[in-house]
Symmetry: C2
Subunit: 373 residues, 2 copies
Amino acid sequence: MPKFTPFDLQMMTRAIKLAQKGRFTTAPNPNVGCVITQGESIVGEGFHYRAGEPHAEVHALRMAGESSRGATAYVTLEPCSHYGRTPPCAEGLINAGVSKVICAMQDPNPQVSGRGIQMLRDAGIEVEVGLLKSDAKALNPAFIKRMQTGMPFVQLKMAASIDGQTALANGKSQWITSKQARQNVQNYRAQAGAILSTSQTVIDDNASLTVRWNELPESVKEHYPEAELRQPARVILDRQSKLHPQLALYASHSPVLRVSNENAEVTVEVNQSGQLDLRQTFATLAKTHNINHIWVEAGATLAKSLLEEQLVDELVLYLAPKIMGSDGRGLFGAFGLTDMQQVLELDIKDCRLVGSDVRLVAVPMPIESKRKD
Amino acid sequence: MPKFTPFDLQMMTRAIKLAQKGRFTTAPNPNVGCVITQGESIVGEGFHYRAGEPHAEVHALRMAGESSRGATAYVTLEPCSHYGRTPPCAEGLINAGVSKVICAMQDPNPQVSGRGIQMLRDAGIEVEVGLLKSDAKALNPAFIKRMQTGMPFVQLKMAASIDGQTALANGKSQWITSKQARQNVQNYRAQAGAILSTSQTVIDDNASLTVRWNELPESVKEHYPEAELRQPARVILDRQSKLHPQLALYASHSPVLRVSNENAEVTVEVNQSGQLDLRQTFATLAKTHNINHIWVEAGATLAKSLLEEQLVDELVLYLAPKIMGSDGRGLFGAFGLTDMQQVLELDIKDCRLVGSDVRLVAVPMPIESKRKD
C-alpha cells in the first residue's frame, strides 16, 4: 500500500472536483480530472468536458507547459493507452517529462485496465494507484458498470403521494410533485446518456423528454451555458408502432431511438408475454449506442417489469406531501403477493427534502440474496 | 424588548436541556427547567421530574440554599402562582430572596398567564420574559395546546412500504418496518399521555400498547431506570364492546380507558354514521383525564376519519424499503377523489432514516386554508 501525503490527498480531491464539472457533457466518456504540481505548487489542471474534445491530462499539460518536466500528475482515472479520437494520455505525460503519476483508480475496462500504467512505468515514471479510489468510482458509476458488465446503469424515476398513488382513479395527476422536484428531475435527465419511456406515456403526456435548460438549478446554469447543452437520446419502447411525427417528442432535434421487434433503431426480441425484451434493449443500447446511463420515466407497468427483471440500479422516488387515498393508481401495480418473504426489498441510500417533497434514492436488493436470508 | 447577555442565553439553554430530562415522566405536567446563578456562577439547578413531585424551581432553590439571596433565576416557564400539590413557585422564589427572574415564556393557561410574573414583580423582583421562547415552547407542544384550546395534541403513527401498503391483500404484515423503527415507536409512546387505538386493532394484534422499557434507546435507558417507568393510559375505541379480559391489553397494570356511547370510562355520542364522536372523545380525554398528548396507533379507517375531521397535529409515517404492490392494503383506504384540488396536503417537518426505514413527520394543512389557495 503506497503512502500518500496530506498534500497528495488535497490534490486528488481537487482533481475529483474538477472531474465533476464534466458531469453533464462527457457522456459516453467518463468524468476525469487532472492536477499537475511542482513541489507544492499547482502548475496545471483540467478536466474532460465533452466526448471528442481533449482529455483532462491534455488540458492540464497544456496549462503546465514546460513546468511539467519533473512534475507530479494527479489523475482521477488511469491515463488511456490507446489511439482514439485523441492520442493516448499516457504518451502525453511521458513526452511532457512528468516524473510521477498518482491515479485514483485503474481503467474499469478489463481489456485495457493497467495498460496505461504499464506504459508510464516502462518509460521510467513512478506510478501509484488507489488514492481516493471510492470517490473516483463515484464519479462514473454508469461508465464503470458498462465497461465491466456490458450493461448500462439504470435509474428508475417515479413520483407519488406519501400513500403511494401516482394519480387519482380517473387518471388526474397534475401536479403531484412540487416545481423543485420537477427541476431536480431535469438535473438527473441532464446527466443521463438516454431518457427511456414508452410510447403510451409519451402519447398520454405528449412528453418531449428533453432537458429544459431553464429548469436546471441556478448553480448549474452558471457554469453550463445553454449553447453547450447536451441532450440525451430519447429511447421509446414502441412495440405497437404508436409513435407519430406530430408528437412533441419529434419537435426537438435530439435523437429518438425507437425500440421494437422490427423496423426500429433498436430491434429486440419479444418475450413469451408479448413484451419487448428489456434486458436485450439495455444491452443493445450499451453495446451499439455506447449508452452508459439510462434515466427511465414511465408508468407502473414498465416499472414493475424492470424491477422484476432486476434491471434497476437505483429507484429515485419523489413522494409529495399529499394523501390521495388507496383508490387511486398505485406506484407499481398489483403484485399478487401472499407472503412477506416475497416482498421486494431495497436499500435506501439517501432521503431528503427537495422543495416540499421527499426524495428517496433506493437500491433494489438482488432477489437471489434475499431468498438466502 | 429586554436585552439578554450571552451569559443569559447560555443559562437558559442549560435550563431547557434540564427540562428535557423530564420528557418521559412529567405528564400531565409540563417540562420545566431552572438554573440559579450568583454573578457568573451556577449555585442551583433542577427540573420537574414527575407530577406530584417538586417543581423545577424548588429543586434549584434547595440546591442553592442561602446562595439564592440576590441571585438570578432562569426558568423555562413562568413560575406558578397557585397552591396545588405544591406551594406556588413564585412564592418560593420570593421567600428565597432571589432578585431577578428570567422566564422563557409565560404560562400558556390563559386563566393564570402573567399572574406568577405579577406576584414576583409585586415583591420587587426584576422579571424579564421571552428569552429562547420558541425553544421553550418546543418543550411542551401538547401541554400548551391543551391549555390554549382544551384539546390534546394528537400524533398519528402509521407504517407502510414505500408504495403505501400496510399489509398484503391477505392481511400479512409482520414485519414491514425494522426493529429500529419499532424501537423509535416505543420512544414516542413513552412520551405520550395516552396511546389510542381501536378494539379491532387491539384484538387483531393482541396488542398490549404498553411502553417496553427494554426497547427504549440505550441513551434513554441510561437516565431512565425501569423502576421509574411511567406507562401512558391506553384509550380504546370500543363501540361494539369487543374488549374482553383475556386480551394482552389487560395483562399489564396501566389504566385502560374504554370509549363507547354507554357504560364506558369515556362516554361520547355516536355520530350520524354510527361512529363514536372523535372530537368529543379527545375533548373529554383532555378535560376529564388531563391528557395533553395522544399517540394513535390504528388502522386505515380510524386514520382516515381523524384526518378528515382535522384532528391530527402530526402524522408520523414510517416507510419501509419494500415494494408490496398496489393490491395490498392501502394506508388510508379509499377517498373517492375526482380532482387534485381535493387532495389532502401536508407539510413535511422532518425526514430521516431510522434503521433501514424512512421516518416522515408531517403536519396536515388546514382544509379551509387549502381551499382558499
